[in-house]
């Protein structure tokens, strides 16, 4: 089994974390998120991202504001809520812990 397939469940699980990270950086529009991820190992598609964002919104971690666009209809720009920011900080902390564990094992 190729390496990338071995990690695909992990990638899937991490996607939420990464999306929170991107949304936390600046107010973003879904194509922005996709573009940011496209060049990485976490490249994803609308079919996955929209349901994920709606789940995050239901959990109260992100919300969106409508913004007019020069071309076409108004767009949804996503941003973190306060509880989302808190959650992201916890995830970050945990991720550092996991990283440490992985790099220390076997050394």
């Amino acid at each position: 089994m190729p390496i990338d397939q071995k990690f695909s469940p992990i990638r899937k699980g991490l996607l939420e974390f990464l999306v929170l990270k991107i949304v936390g950086g600046a107010m973003v529009y879904v194509p922005d998120i996709l573009r940011r991820l496209a060049s990485t190992e976490f490249a994803t598609q609308e079919g996955t991202l929209y349901p994920l964002l709606s789940k995050l919104r239901r959990e109260g971690l992100v919300d969106y504001v409508w913004q007019e666009s020069d071309s076409g209809p108004p767009r949804k720009y996503y941003r973190l809520t306060d509880s989302g920011r808190e959650h992201l900080a916890q995830l970050d902390e945990y991720w550092v812990l996991i990283n440490k564990t992985i790099s220390e094992l076997g050394s």
């Binding site: 598609q45 929209y50 709606s54």
Partner: protein, 449 residues
């Protein structure tokens, strides 16, 4: 020349050719199904439509205003299959591996033509061991129980059951006949109940779902290719070529018919406004209106219709009995008319009462037919009429044989009938004798008018 269909994607109009339209409505329907349990379904669908529209805009310019099938296929491939359950990381590692392998082999779920050929157990499913195994597990398409009227003996229940359990239809029919004989008719009731509750597979997609096969444009082509391969390798080539050609023609005609139906429905939808469809469905593309009447809706409406039919039938019997008792005994089921109320007034009241009670039941049933889809209304109505009649006859038959009162009533009735008929006949004979005179008078009177 290609026909163009205009669709509204989240409030903006786009023009698609027929292939693109078929692909898009397929994609949106699958998305809707994947999100069935998602509370944000309408919003996510609107977001998806918006994204599709923006991707389509890439292919459009002032001198190219129509999105073609291949372009839309590209758009849909970029969108990717909709993840019905985002962020579920609790699944077991092996299951996760399986799904990811399946996704890798055929880029995901029902869109994978590999999965289609895999579940069809054709020799063409050589997409690697991992992919083959994932496709063989094939949870991408759920099999559904439908009635299949195509090639049915009676209503298509057996045909649908045979498709559902993937066994020969003759076996199912034999089991039914045996059960019918052994249970002394109880199996017939089961059949009738199923006839009403199980929805008909009326579209190509539903027919595919009845057999547990995925249906989309690509799968249709794939299936046709498979048939072609069979024909090419067959020794009896002339025969199978004709068969293949017929099959292909049939599939094409079916497809065309379905599109026309969707289009008509869409038009009707526009003409009459939302027409009872929920607002979210109205916001979707035209194709999404049909799946609004999905499998669960069919089941529920079928059950409700059957129950309403039964209530109606019982009510009708009661009314007929009341009417008969009024005609024969001059009293309403043993309850004599109040003094001073003439016989004809009671009759009029009874008829009015019937209409007053029957009307809301009828209206309810009609509104249910139309929520399922106007194209089925006539058939559902016809079936319900027959069923109501059957229930009436069955109850009367039972009453005649097991309830002495009913038996007496019938005997009384036949006596009354015979008497009145003989009187009528006598009068008729008298009338005949007088008839020529009457006509003459009429003619004489005419010029005076």
């Amino acid at each position: 020349m290609q026909k163009v269909i205009t669709v509204s994607l989240n409030g903006n109009a786009y023009q698609l050719d027929e292939d693109a339209y078929a692909l898009l409505s397929q994609y949106l329907e699958q998305s809707g199904r994947a999100l069935q349990t998602n509370p944000d379904r309408p919003e996510i669908i609107a977001d998806l439509e918006q994204a599709i529209g923006e991707k389509c805009a890439r292919y459009l310019s002032p001198h190219k205003t129509v999105v073609t099938g291949p372009e839309l296929a590209q758009v849909v491939a970029e969108m990717g299959p909709v993840d019905g359950d985002p962020g579920t990381t609790t699944e077991s590692p092996s299951a996760a591996n399986g799904t990811s392998a399946g996704a890798q082999a055929g880029s995901g779920g029902a869109w994978s033509s590999g999965a289609a050929t895999g579940s069809g157990a054709s020799p063409g499913a050589s997409s690697g061991p991992g992919g083959g195994a994932a496709a063989g597990g094939g949870p991408s398409v759920s099999r559904r129980l439908y009635q299949i009227s195509d090639g049915a003996v009676f209503s298509g229940v057996c045909k649908g059951l045979s498709a559902y359990f993937a066994v020969d239809v003759t076996l199912v029919r034999a089991i039914f006949v045996a059960a019918f004989l052994l249970t002394g008719g109880a199996a017939l009731i089961a059949y009738v109940v199923m006839m009403f509750i199980i929805p008909y597979a009326s579209t190509s997609e539903e027919r595919a779902a009845a057999h547990g096969m995925p249906f989309n444009a690509r799968v249709l082509v794939e299936r046709a290719k498979e048939k072609y391969a069979q024909f090419a390798s067959s020794s009896d080539w002339r025969d199978s070529r004709n068969q293949w050609r017929n099959e292909w023609r049939r599939a094409r005609a079916e497809w065309r018919f379905e599109r026309r139906r969707m289009r008509d429905e869409w038009r009707r939808h526009w003409r009459f406004g939302a027409g009872g469809a929920p607002a979210s469905a109205a916001a979707l593309s035209p194709g999404a209106k049909t799946p609004a009447a999905n499998y669960a809706t069919h089941i529920i409406t079928g059950t409700v219709l059957a129950i309403l039919g039964l209530i109606f039938a019982i009510f009708t019997i009661g009314w007929v009995l009341a009417l008969l008792s009024l005609l024969t005994t001059g009293a309403l089921l043993g309850w004599s008319l109040p003094h001073g109320v003439p016989f004809w007034a009671a009759l009029v009241v009874l008829v009015l009462l019937y209409n007053a009670i029957a009307w809301p039941i009828k209206a309810m049933r009609r509104s249910i037919y139309y929520s399922v889809g106007p194209y089925q209304g006539a058939w559902v109505e016809a079936w319900n009429g027959i069923a109501a009649l059957a229930v009436v006859f069955a109850l009367l038959w039972y009453g005649y044989h097991h309830q002495p009162e009913v038996h007496n009533l019938f005997d009384h009735l036949s006596q009354w009938w015979n008497e009145s008929v003989s009187t009528q006949l006598n009068q008729l004979h008298l009338g005949e004798r007088h008839a020529p005179e009457g006509t003459q008078t009429a003619f004489k009177d005419l010029p005076l008018l």
